[in-house]
């Protein structure tokens, strides 16, 4: 886990489910073969209705139609981000697109667990309703050690909730390294 993460914000609404993060029709690609896995980056968040793509303006695709990588490092969401199916392809797709952090008011538990145990994206929770204060395209800097988030564009600072228990897994990289250190696997 990097100490400092810097990049652009992509803002979405409440209760973004995994069908919107990566529609089921795309789940057939290999997550291992490089030529195929890059399609997860292309289709990340493509299930959002157009007017909900990149708030507040909308109609901003997370990944441009002909690209495999997104310009956005942070996904800023409301409540219950990642609800719905257990597909690990969801946090994986965000990582493949180049996102590093999701900041939400709350997460659905399977998405949260997948993000952490697979080491795909760092899920930070925010008490403040950031989706009404940050705009798609704003430049952000996050200190993952302290949870201090700076909106460089508006020069506003926010304090995110501590990562708690899961920080140890994120520091290990994924749950396998964590399990090795806990003596649960060789």
């Amino acid at each position: 886990m990097k100490d400092i993460i810097h990049g652009k914000a992509y803002v979405v609404g409440d209760s973004i489910d995994t069908d919107q993060i990566i529609p089921a029709v795309h789940l057939v690609y290999s997550m291992k073969i490089p030529e195929e896995r890059q399609f997860y980056g292309r289709y990340a968040l493509c299930g959002l209705p157009e007017t909900s793509q990149g708030l507040p303006a909308g109609n901003i695709p997370f990944t441009a139609p002909d690209r495999f990588k997104s310009d956005f490092t942070f996904v800023i969401a409301g409540t219950n981000f990642g609800c719905g199916s257990s597909r690990e392809h969801a946090p994986f797709a965000l990582q493949e697109a180049g996102a590093e952090v999701v900041i939400a008011e709350s997460f659905a538990r399977i998405f949260y667990r997948n993000a952490v145990d697979g080491g795909f994206v760092i899920p930070f929770e925010s008490r403040a309703r950031l989706i009404e204060q940050i705009r798609t395209g704003d430049v952000l800097t996050l200190d993952t050690r302290t949870g201090v988030l700076l909106n460089v564009t508006t020069d506003t600072e926010y304090l995110l909730d501590p990562l708690g228990d899961i920080a140890e897994i994120l520091k290990c990289g994924n749950v396998f390294e964590y399990a090795r250190r806990a003596g649960m696997m060789a």
Partner: protein, 432 residues
């Protein structure tokens, strides 16, 4: 200190006498289930972390049920089946249910019940969010991603945070126009679809224990639609009878202690409840059928782990028998066993299958079908601006295939009544 059934099962599987909500613990897993969408990437992670030639921790405890993208020409989806077949063959897995053979089952959550893998007191994990369905048999069951499943595949262990329990008590006698689907949609509407996040949802009360095992599975199936970690119902004689008819495997039932503390408790009198729907595009967007009655429909869909069991079709057939549907109506059995029963059971001298055919329904093969959209050639998939009423469990934008489609979730009774009229219809209007 008294504990809930969920706490006691988790405590037993962590080698402790008690565990507290909020604690992170390592537990032993009795059954791991995976399917064609999440199985291949789980196997890739398993090989990466444990080695190309690693053995699964216990091949008798791994169940692989291809069910999602089966009847499609999509080459990538077909490759996933090949990958499962190779892995099952290489590891000589006894519980692989291959496509195109007499062993093929269909939707994993229903197959787990039919094949006797839902055993009271057990811990069951699966790479599917609706794995919570199995909790209807008095066991702890929940969905995980591929990484967690790969860890279980190699070690038989996983860490969990012990959940608080929300208790839902259903009292009274269930009227004939209501089904378990109405009860669970009402719960989700009441607490909101993140109202149960991280929690165990326990269902209790006379009306729950009056339900068949299939109907109980409809309740626990949709615990995830309120964000729940697991849904659970204490086992009783009906549970034991079902399980013993499906497996000789021993099991030890677990019950909650009297006086266990619950995070919250809600009591419902089912005799006063109404047929309901979840309106587009959220499972908690609750309305009484009477509030949306008359809404024009393009399509009806009866199927999935929630609404594609034999009792779901018996309920729908009772309404459709001798009548004709006014909109395209897709019938997709959850499992090959359900298909067989549709062809064996009769109503007024006709098989149930024939009842649906005569009513003008389109009949599909046992699988997840269009519940989650799937490849573009999936039977019943919404590809445009259809307004659909469905017995499935999710209606997020694009869930059944098209972002422009609008999906209403309802019980098989309500879906059948609505198919007859071509508009959303209260089942009381057509039930005699």
């Amino acid at each position: 200190m008294a504990q809930t059934i969920t706490q006691k099962i988790l405590a037993q599987h962590s080698g402790r006498s008690r565990v507290n909500p909020g604690e992170n613990i390592w537990i032993d897993v009795d059954i791991l289930m995976t399917h064609d969408v999440c199985g291949p990437p789980t196997i890739d992670i398993f090989k990466r972390e444990f080695g190309e030639s690693a053995k699964v921790w216990d091949k008798n405890k791994l169940v692989i049920l291809p069910d999602h993208y089966i009847f499609t020409e999509d080459p990538h989806a077909r490759r996933n089946i090949e990958l499962l077949r190779e892995f099952a063959s290489l590891h000589d897995l006894p519980h692989y249910y291959d496509v195109g053979t007499s062993r093929y089952k269909g939707v994993c959550h229903i197959a787990l019940a039919e094949e006797g893998f839902n055993r009271p007191g057990n811990v069951l994990f699966g790479t599917d969010s609706h794995t919570c369905t199995s909790g209807a048999f008095g066991l702890f069951s929940t969905g995980v991603g591929n990484t967690d499943a790969a860890l279980i595949m190699g070690t038989g262990k996983i860490w969990v945070k012990v959940p608080d329990t929300m208790r839902f008590v259903f009292e009274g006698d269930l009227p004939p126009y209501l089904m378990a689907k109405d009860l669970i949609l009402s719960v989700i509407g009441d607490i909101g679809f993140e109202g149960g996040t991280y929690k165990a949802l326990e269902f209790d009360g006379k009306a729950v224990f009056d339900l068949s095992m299939e109907e109980r599975m409809t309740l626990t199936n949709m615990a995830i639609e309120a964000g729940g970690k697991n849904g659970i119902i204490a086992p009783d004689e009906k549970t034991f009878e079902y399980v013993r008819s499906r497996t000789d495997h021993a099991f030890e039932p677990v019950y909650g202690d009297p006086g266990a503390s619950y995070y919250s408790e809600r009591v419902y009198d089912v005799s006063k409840m109404e047929p309901v729907v979840a309106k587009p595009h959220r499972p908690d967007n609750l309305a009484n059928v009477s509030e949306v009655a008359g809404t024009r429909l393009d399509r009806a869909y009866i199927g999935s782990c929630t609404g594609g069991k034999i009792e779901d079709f018996m309920a729908a057939a009772a309404i459709l028998e001798g009548n004709e549907v006014r909109v395209d109506t897709f019938v997709v059995p959850a499992s090959s066993e359900v298909t067989r029963q549709l062809r064996e059971r009769t109503m007024n001298g006709k098989t149930i299958w024939q009842v649906f055919l005569d009513a003008g329904c389109k009949m599909g093969h046992a699988s997840c079908g269009a519940c989650l959209g799937g490849p573009v050639d999936t039977f019943g998939r919404a590809n445009g601006t259809e307004v659909v009423i469905s017995t499935t469990n999710r209606n997020f934008p694009g869930r059944m295939g098209s972002k422009l489609a609008a999906v209403y979730l309802a019980s098989p009774l309500t879906v059948a009544a609505s198919a007859l009229h071509g508009t959303i219809t209260d089942p009381r209007e057509v039930l005699v």
